[in-house]
């Protein structure tokens, strides 16, 4: 195998892998620490079974559904203190997407409390149930119902206790403002009364009963409302403690020695020069090397000395971003298949075949990967930023050969994830440094490390071919995604014959999940291709799409976006250098359509207006959903306008915001966002799908504005 990462994401042909599984799979960095002699004695002495590491090749391939195991008992979902204070537990994390508000709402709704009366404890593996990773837009469809069920069960316990105390039918009891009440009577029972009642306390220790009565939507008072981030005051005062802000007594600051290029092997290392720095402890263990010092500055200075004492063996077979798409094509598993629809192509009025290129991009959350690790008598506590707290606990247990119950992972609300913080290598690194130093260690990756060593959104090579009959109907459709994944690879449009497929290949960079992952590339390519086909058929891009769409939710958002944008007029009236484009897509059960207006002057593209319609079932928190949609649109502009990871010789060439521009205030379009509320439908997540339509809408507008088709991202216009 030449390259470093052959399909860590998508086990080819795994029949058990579902769409969600693929979204959640991540690529772990393997660590092979030598067994710690002291650790062995301690662990064996304590009579615990050593956790055996799984075979290395399996580790990156395990996948996990969004739901996790959930709460085994009612008490595992919520705690009622003697004074009635209620704490709800969840394994989900908050990294800006608004889960803290939404899950608090879910609990408050069923407990009949205001959100401010519910404390939500998130992602401390010692205290919360495993609700699965925070990924794949699963918090809304999986965890909101789980929390509602637990809290509704607690409410029913209160009703049952009141019915028994007052000797009345439970149907005569209503819970309002956290108290059980009976019409016409003054008596009240509160949640605090549950704690002192033996039967109720026993029921809390039991499994959550099936089918507690959930509050029907027409009686919702908290869900469906705009509720602000519960800890907003901590954000504006700077008092919120992010993982990188954790400070522990005696804590040191860590740095890790990185290879000079991907795949380089550490042949030898002399720690002496680094150890000579005051207070610095350096460690070299297999391929891991790093140090910890009393300040970041001393650690950085010592790292320079450490780097000077390292001998590396570099690989010589690196590909580059310039050769990326040829590389992906050459290594596509089984080769790119022939289009099987020869008869349709031969009998067509028009045929079209195009290739689309989507480069690697980075998540670059504002808070680079961070962890603080602390050992105490063979037990390990790590504060870190990850969307997968229980998976990170497993990674730590495996790396240090200790049982999972000796590892506690705490995930404070952290500074951005976007699908990029799944794996736990930063936690493992911090823990190894803390083990060596015998003191707590804080490790925060530099921005350059984050741009280089964090997982990338996979690059995509997409080959599309289609045929049209004389009436402009699609008679065949052949669509192949190489490298970036299956999600949204199937077309939602009616076609005579269709085959869509995902092919693995040899991926030159370590890639993993990203907001909406593969649907970003698949929808970009499909919607651009549809636009070209409409042009070939001599049809309006909207009419061409509608002619191939059944009645339904996708059609609804597309028609609404066109109406709100006034597509009929503006698509005709805008003339170069201005132009309008349209696109739509569906992913993870939600639906999006966007219209964009652009202007192209002096080979420079500016997006002036984006009108987007989004629908994800019943809206649970309109203001938060709006924030997610507008954030997705703006984030989605990055890869079309400016973002592209360039690499050569095993190095990232632009590992900095100065050379990898992301969206800023200046240059942003006017935004017009419409949310379609569907009280008749279950709620699904809304933090990902709103990203997928903006790039193709802009690309299609560029064609109208400048006569150039965009088939490669980011847009590079010819003079």
């Amino acid at each position: 195998m030449k390259a470093g990462h052959a399909n860590p994401l998508f086990p080819a042909g795994d029949p058990t892998a579902s769409e969600f599984d693929e979204e959640l799979v991540f690529d772990c960095v393997p660590f092979h620490f030598r067994p710690s002699r002291r650790g062995f004695v301690r662990t064996l002495g304590a009579g615990l079974i050593l956790a055996l590491p799984a075979p290395a090749q399996d580790r990156g391939r395990r996948s996990q559904r969004g739901g996790g195991g959930g709460a085994a008992t009612l008490a595992a979902r919520l705690h009622i203190a003697d004074d009635g204070t209620i704490t709800v537990f969840t394994g989900k994390v908050e990294c800006g997407q608004g889960s803290r508000a939404e899950l608090t709402q879910a609990a408050a709704e069923e407990l009949r409390l205001s959100p401010s009366q519910v404390h939500l404890l998130m992602a401390d593996t010692q205290s919360v149930p495993d609700d699965g990773g925070t990924a794949g837009s699963r918090s809304t469809p999986s965890t909101v119902p789980a929390i509602r069920a637990g809290c509704a069960a607690a409410r029913e316990l209160l009703v049952r206790l009141a019915a028994s105390r007052w000797d009345v039918d439970p149907l005569q009891i209503e819970v309002r403002a956290g108290e059980a009440r009976q019409a016409g009577e003054d008596h009240r029972l509160s949640y605090a009364d549950l704690v002192s009642d033996a039967d109720s306390a026993a029921a809390l220790a039991q499994a959550i009963p099936d089918g507690p009565r959930l509050t029907p939507m027409d009686r919702w008072e908290v869900l469906g409302q705009s509720v602000s981030r519960p800890n907003g005051a901590g954000l504006v005062t700077g008092s919120h403690t992010y993982p990188s802000d954790i400070q522990r007594p005696g804590m040191l600051y860590g740095r890790v020695l990185r290879p000079p290029a991907f795949g380089a092997r550490l042949v030898s290392l002399d720690l002496a020069a680094a150890q000579a720095f005051d207070g610095v402890t350096a460690v070299h263990d297999d391929q891991f090397a790093g140090l910890a010092g009393p300040t970041s500055a001393s650690a950085a200075a010592a790292l320079s000395a450490l780097a000077a004492a390292a001998v590396w063996e570099e690989r010589g077979d690196h590909t580059s971003s310039d050769a990326l798409f040829e590389h992906l094509r050459e290594h596509a598993e089984g080769g790119i298949p022939e289009n099987p629809f020869r008869a349709e192509l031969d009998g067509a009025s028009h045929t079209l075949r195009q290739s689309y290129h989507v480069p690697y991009v980075q998540h670059c959350p504002m808070e680079p990967r961070s962890a603080v690790a602390e050992w105490d008598d063979g037990r390990l506590t790590v504060w870190t930023a990850s969307q997968m707290p229980f998976r990170v606990r497993g990674e730590l247990a495996q790396a240090f050969r200790i049982a999972e119950d000796r590892v506690r992972v705490i995930i404070p609300d952290f500074g951005g994830g976007f699908g990029g913080k799944h794996s736990g290598e930063c936690a493992v690194e911090a823990a190894r440094l803390a083990q060596a130093a015998g003191k707590p260690v804080s490790l925060q990756w530099t921005r350059e490390e984050e741009f280089t060593w964090a997982q990338f959104r996979p690059a995509a090579l997409i080959e599309a071919e289609a045929s049209l009959d004389a009436a402009g109907r699609l008679t065949s459709w052949h669509f192949i995604n190489v490298n970036s994944g299956r999600s949204a690879v199937d077309t939602p449009y009616r076609t005579g014959k269709a085959e869509s497929a995902f092919l693995g290949t040899e991926a030159p960079l370590r890639h993993g999940s990203y907001r909406a992952l593969a649907s970003t590339a698949n929808v970009f390519a499909r919607e651009c291709f549809m636009d070209e086909l409409a042009f070939l058929a001599g049809q309006d891009p909207l009419e061409f799409r509608l002619a191939h769409l059944e009645e339904g939710r996708l059609r609804d958002v597309l028609e609404e976006a066109a109406r709100r944008f006034d597509w009929a007029s503006r698509s005709q009236e805008l003339t170069p250098p201005r132009g309008a484009g349209i696109a739509c897509g569906t992913e993870k059960g939600s639906f999006v359509a966007a219209c964009a207006e652009v202007v192209v002057e002096a080979s420079t593209l500016r997006v002036t207006h984006v009108c987007q319609v989004f629908e994800c079932g019943k809206v649970l928190n309109p203001a938060n959903l709006r924030a997610q949609v507008q954030g997705s649109i703006i984030m989605g502009l990055g890869p079309i306008l400016s973002e592209e990871t360039r690499f050569a010789g095993g190095k990232i060439l632009n590992p900095a915001f100065s050379s990898y521009p992301v969206p800023r205030f200046a240059g942003l379009p006017q935004l017009e966002i419409h949310l379609l509320d569907r009280p008749d439908l279950d709620s699904v997540g809304g933090g990902e799908t709103p990203l997928i339509a903006v790039a193709p809408a802009v690309a299609n507008a560029v064609f109208r504005a400048a006569g150039q088709r965009v088939r490669k991202l980011p847009v590079r216009l010819e003079a």
Binding site: L235, R258, P365, G416, R646, S658, A666, L671, L676, P679
Partner: protein, 213 residues
């Protein structure tokens, strides 16, 4: 089925403010998209070797959040590190280390500086304000309150820098127009892309939004 019209274009985004925006700081040439004022446009490879810092410690005194403070530090250590590691003021964030993202913004003599590249020696004898020093006796600073009112954050990691940059802007220009706000905040990145809410918060703090809007 009900439509919630949540947001429609009352932002300055999309206006052709490029000319005005870049005039003062970008010497007149067209601005590459999403690059902040004064940034390098050629590909940049960061030095992978950390810069040597002097190990010699010196005494530096300044006023921070209204109180006099003396620290012993090598003079070229970034102010950001001294704030976070020596003084425990972790509200100021590391984001990039190259003055590109604004997460490390603090006020030095009432002007915004990027503390990640400000040697601590430059603070000697001067007045520093960090996010921890804005509120007074449980009352939020008006800019903090405006950010809270507008939900002008998602993950919130960029928020302290955004707020301090806004405070500096309003100290110089109490009634900035939208293009001036965009220009002042363009050195600050919000990767969650809460830019529209942040803009509204700044407008609100500047008195430009009616109550309850």
């Amino acid at each position: 089925m009900s439509w919630i019209r949540i947001f429609s274009g009352n932002t300055p985004f999309g206006l052709d403010h490029r000319r005005d925006l870049w005039k003062s700081e970008y010497s007149g040439s067209p601005a590459p998209l999403f690059l902040p004022p004064g940034s390098r446009t050629a590909p940049v490879v960061m030095n992978t070797e950390p810069q040597e810092t002097s190990q010699t410690s010196t005494t530096i005194s300044f006023t921070i959040n209204g109180e006099k403070q003396t620290v012993a530090s090598s003079p070229d250590r970034p102010l950001l590190e001294v704030l976070r590691e020596d003084l425990g003021l972790t509200g100021t964030k590391y984001g990039c280390g190259e003055t590109q993202c604004g997460a490390c913004s603090v006020l030095l003599d009432q002007r915004r500086v990027f503390s990640c590249r400000t040697p601590v020696s430059q603070a000697d004898g001067r007045e520093i304000v960090t996010i921890e020093g804005l509120s007074r006796e449980d009352a939020l600073h008006p800019v903090q309150q405006a950010f809270l009112d507008e939900d002008a954050y998602q993950c919130g990691y960029c928020t302290p820098g955004m707020i301090l940059t806004t405070v500096a802007l309003l100290a110089e220009n109490p009634r900035p127009d939208d293009a001036q706000i965009v220009a002042a905040l363009n050195g600050n990145i919000c990767r969650c892309c809460s830019y529209p809410n942040i803009l509204r918060a700044v407008q609100r703090a500047a008195g430009g939004l009616p109550k309850g809007d």
